[in-house]
Amino acid sequence: MRRRKPHVASAMTDIAFLLLLFFLIFSITTHRVPSDVTLAASETAEIADDHQLILAVDADGNVYTGDQIIAIADIAYVPVVSVYADEAVPFSALYPLLQHLQENGVPTVQCVVRPK
């Protein structure tokens, strides 16, 4: 009598859970912006390009990359910079960052907003 082949469904389950873990981690690690940053609202904003460098600016004017505060002078050149600025931050706190990006030759600055 022929032996039955072992069931492969358990292997499928393993793959499924690995994929699940991948997407879980992916969704958690992307867009790590400080939680206390409330974006300004806009009706006309377009879908942002891929983020090459994400900078967050909180209401006190601190500039973050990830969870770390970064000095403006330490920001390296990338072609596209996405700025997540708090809606309450005064323009004077944000302007030195924009100036620095301009001086470094960054051609595109995306001011990320929340849709209205």
């Binding site: 006309t44 990006l101 301009q102 600055v109 995306q110 001011c111």
Partner: protein
């Protein structure tokens, strides 16, 4: 004795549904942004006669003495616009002005910090 077949399909079904959920979630959560011309952040004289929109500390946007409203659309459409905000202007007021001039069809929008308005 009767043997029950192990029901292995159920966890994989749930897993695949969760995968679909996260796939849709990661695809659906897209950021929206207003793009500003970084190269013109500080240089107001680069463009030929750019339209200058001022935003005061109260968040009121003006073109000259006129409030920024749809009647000014023709003056902004297709032009290079510089949004000049004062130092104490909140970012949401600047974004509102950027948003409006983008809606009015400005060709390019740049930012500048003006004197105390």
């Amino acid at each position: 004795m009767r043997r029950y077949r192990r029901n292995v399909t159920q966890p994989s079904d749930i897993a695949f549904l969760l995968i679909l959920f996260f796939l849709v979630l990661t695809g659906a959560v897209v950021d929206r942004a207003l793009t500003i011309a970084s190269s013109e952040v500080t240089t107001a004289h680069v463009q030929e006669s750019p339209v200058i929109i001022t935003v005061d500390t109260a968040g009121v946007a003006r073109l000259g003495q006129s409030h920024l409203d749809p009647s000014l659309r023709t003056q902004i459409q297709g032009k290079a616009v510089i949004v000049e905000a004062s130092a104490d202007t909140r970012w949401d007021s600047v974004v509102a002005a950027l948003s409006t001039v983008t809606d009015y069809g400005a060709d390019s929008v740049s930012l500048s910090m003006g004197k105390q308005l």
